[in-house]
Symmetry: C2
Subunit: 547 residues, 2 copies
């Protein structure tokens, strides 16, 4: 089989969710990229702000990259655009709302580079190099999301990013079933599909079910209602606005990203909120409590979010009041459960009532569950199936579902990021492995923390450090002064009081009586003494000067 007629499918981005944050499609000398999002750090990724995919492979081939195609405006799909266009400044294709959200985000972050934005429409198509990219509407928890039909001479690939089959979505615009059937009739060589909820049986409830839950919250709340969600969960804003109008409350927005996104979505008519329902936050804070609903960020308990700060009593613009009802309108992202729980407890301690998705249906998932995933496969009837947007556990489950529907196990593909998959001669085979890793972003530095640094941090964090500064007289070979010892994160000051004198004695004995060759000898002796005394192993450093 000639390698010329070969499409290479490349999921990028570490041991996280496969292909969620970035995928590349390479045909001959041309490449297109789908999405450029961020991941949030796991609990053991110490001191990391967020994570972007490693797109070194693309950087080295920057002149081959024709464009970046964005499926929807959530952080995990647009959050890394800023970094991407700094290295690979190609046109960015997005639907109107997605484009608006991207531009607002780049502006907020003061991005140096101006993105070359191209507006596309669900139902439309872009021909670029050997690629024809058809955009079709999918329902998700944000309006104007699309899936992609990608045609090259190697065949037709359907790239189904985040989606659900909501028959009654907030914006009234269901997934484009007709287009999926049309693809099926043309013959789909490979379907890639969102595996987020592959472990969840049944059908994800419609966004509509949230309405009655909000009604109940609004009806019962005697004071202010404060609703936290993601700033990009545009559909939820519509639902809160509807409930506000119904219950005679005014809605205010807190936080720049929330304010920005709603402004854009309203201007573009993706949000239908009458002017008289919205008031500026400053005005809301001076209104009667039962006349107000405030939307803000912090549904994951993030300490720097508004709800995080309210729970800690450190929010600048306003404080919690007795009688406030705080609604956390999202589901815990795995790993955030502990932080969210802590935040809930703190809000309760400050006298708020807290409504979360564990006790009321004030959130539904934006992702297809098993029955929807099966429906997609049966609508599209692909020759090959590749599960994306999940960790191995979800990907394998999703592949099992495909197999239950009759797709041959050898035609279902489960890979991890960095594993190239090739569509060649209407067959799918595994290609090479390229670096498909995380890049950690902290402050303004990108990628200068690696796993080695992280391991050191974890060592520092586990047991702390102990520094000993020793100064020896060259002639007499005796200490010029008592060893100076500093500890951090090792023992409490009280325990240090008994431990440090013993270490001083130990060093003294080594220098004056036992002798030693170099710093290492002292380090080892101190380490073994500390382990014997405390069963712990702090990092020990010795600085030795002879004069």
């Amino acid at each position: 089989m000639s390698k010329k007629n070969r499409l290479r499918i490349i999921p990028l981005g570490g041991l996280g969710e496969v292909g969620k944050n970035m995928m590349a499609y390479e045909y001959g000398k041309d490449i297109i990229v789908v999405d450029a999002g961020i991941m949030f750090p796991k609990n053991d990724m110490l001191g990391v702000d967020y994570i972007i995919p490693d797109f070194e492979y693309l950087k080295k081939r920057a002149d081959k990259v024709l464009g970046l195609f964005i499926t929807h405006g959530h952080e995990d799909h647009i959050g890394a655009i800023q970094h991407f266009i700094e290295d690979i400044n190609v046109p960015v294709y997005a639907t109107p709302l997605t484009r608006g959200l991207i531009e607002a985000k780049l502006h907020r972050n003061g991005s140096q580079h101006k993105a070359q934005m191209k507006t596309v429409q669900a139902g439309g198509a872009t021909k670029i190099g050997p690629f024809t990219i058809e955009y079709f509407h999918v329902s998700h928890s944000i309006p104007d999301a699309v899936g992609l039909g990608i045609t090259t001479p190697a065949g037709l690939v359907v790239h189904m990013s985040d989606f659900k089959f909501d028959h009654t979505p907030v914006d009234g615009w269901p997934t484009d079933f007709a287009k999926l059937s049309e693809f099926a009739n043309r013959g789909v060589d490979l379907l890639l599909s969102d595996s987020t909820n592959a472990e969840r049986p049944g059908w994800t409830p419609s966004e509509k079910v949230i309405g009655p839950a909000f009604d109940k919250v609004f009806a019962e709340a005697k004071g202010r209602v404060i609703i936290a969600t993601f700033a990009s969960l545009i559909s939820r804003v519509q639902q809160v606005a509807d409930a506000a109008a119904k219950h005679g409350r005014k809605m205010a927005l807190a936080g720049p990203s929330m304010v920005d996104n709603v402004k854009i979505a309203r201007k573009m008519k993706y949000l239908n909120i009458p002017d008289e329902v919205i008031v500026p936050i400053e005005q809301a804070l001076n209104m009667q409590n039962h006349k107000v609903v405030i939307m803000c960020t912090g549904s994951q308990g993030e300490p720097s979010s508004i709800v995080g700060r309210l729970s800690a009593g450190t929010n600048r613009q306003f404080d919690l009041k007795e009688g406030d009802t705080v609604v956390l309108s999202s589901h815990p992202i795995p790993g955030n459960e502990e932080t969210i729980s802590k935040t809930i407890n703190r809000l309760l301690r400050r006298g708020a009532k807290v409504v979360h998705d564990g006790i009321a249906p004030i959130h539904v998932s934006g992702h297809a569950a098993q029955e929807e995933q099966k429906l997609l496969i049966n609508l599209v009837r692909p020759k090959h199936f590749m599960s994306i947007h999940g960790e191995l556990r979800q990907l394998m489950r999703h592949a099992e579902l495909a197999q239950q529907l009759g797709i041959d196990p050898k035609d279902t593909i489960v890979v991890e990021n960095g594993q190239v998959v090739e569509l060649i001669g209407k067959k799918v085979v595994l290609g090479e492995r390229i670096p498909g890793d995380y890049v950690f972003v902290t402050g303004e530095s990108i990628g200068d923390i690696d796993y080695g640094v992280m391991r050191e941090r974890s060592q520092l964090a586990r047991n702390g450090i102990l520094l000993i500064d020793i100064s020896i007289d060259k002639l007499t070979r005796r200490l010029r002064h008592d060893p100076e010892i500093i500890t951090r994160g090792f023992v409490s000051p009280e325990d240090a009081e008994t431990l440090l004198p013993e270490i001083r004695k130990l060093v003294l004995r080594m220098v004056h009586d036992d002798g030693f060759d170099d710093e290492k000898d002292i380090i080892n002796a101190v380490k073994s003494y500390l382990h014997q005394q405390t069963k712990r192993r702090p990092m020990v450093f010795v600085t030795l000067s002879k004069a």
Copy 2:
């Protein structure tokens, strides 16, 4: 009201689950203590092995403490006995199985002190000082668990520790409804009850529902079945043994705590496993795969557990084999979701099939859900209700349930650990606040890490450290050699290569040209340079010697 006829109820143990790990009851000059368990550290408690309640209050009154009463043999109720009896060596009252598990644990840990164990029976009672303690059976996920009726001249308190109302428990011994009714007839002044599942509607399923799920796993498994759970989940062992017998497999146990506990429970007839069903692990490893089931620890993905080591390929005794089915028979403890997910992905990557409670009913909770909690309240008909065994969110929810059943809000009590509650003149009032905090245990050191140390660790972990050793010639006031710089957890070696020479130059300039007063000046200059360059703030240390 005379303070003489006053019962003080004291929940101990930090901002965790109230009264879960330890409660004290103080009447006049006498104290009894209920349970002495451990908590596992939260993700932000860096380098902590486990946590015990702060019982300083009891230590100071050690001569007043009459006994320690244990409700059941789970770690969060018995794990701190070892530390408790080192300070307060009073008799420990427990039912036969609980006693056996405690003794085995003390023995395994090489405890120096011998516990003065007293065996009690469900249905029996102990009179000690002003206290009469009646033990009544409750069903839970371990046999031989009890609740306590505590009578003093101040009134009758029912202490309902972990329980569920399982009508078909594995050991065939349901909760003692008759005793609860008897208490109700006598008049219960205060009911304390387990709030773990206060956010869960309905009724917790019986342990019995696991049977069919295990049947399915055993029927479908082509290779070995490896079932991970807590070593103290004795009921689960019975269920696995039953499934093994039914499906013609032999059961082997891996790990000392699992082996110990099963040995004791079998000897005491709390487990009914025929000899021919159990084989030593060494023998199981040489049998045909489809003839074997192995029970071990690690259902929470703990890296040091057998499943944790199997997933990492570092288990000494045996490795995973292609075709193994690993069953994680427990529910993620909040905060462990990420670790468990990582473990599942690793097991899958090594070719195992993984069954967890997200995809099959191979675990049920051991704790009462809302309908059971309501039934308890209506059975006991207490004058006052205090929710225990939960964080604030569960406690408040549980109190709401009690209020729905007609208990006056002023008679429902929600407090946090360290807040004394007093039963006096048949009324319940809040007493003083005493230290009710965590004590962190690491290695062999108890309590020598405090929040200050933890904060330092978190700082170390966030940005790492940078040490600079400077040696200056006293006479010339010039550097005797280039500054030595060490970093850990700050930047990758490549980035250090460009950054460290700049810092050397900066120090050189300060020493030779600009001048400085002391180490602090250098530290500040370096810090501000690093922040400017990297937007990060490592801990900076300078050792300065002049010679």
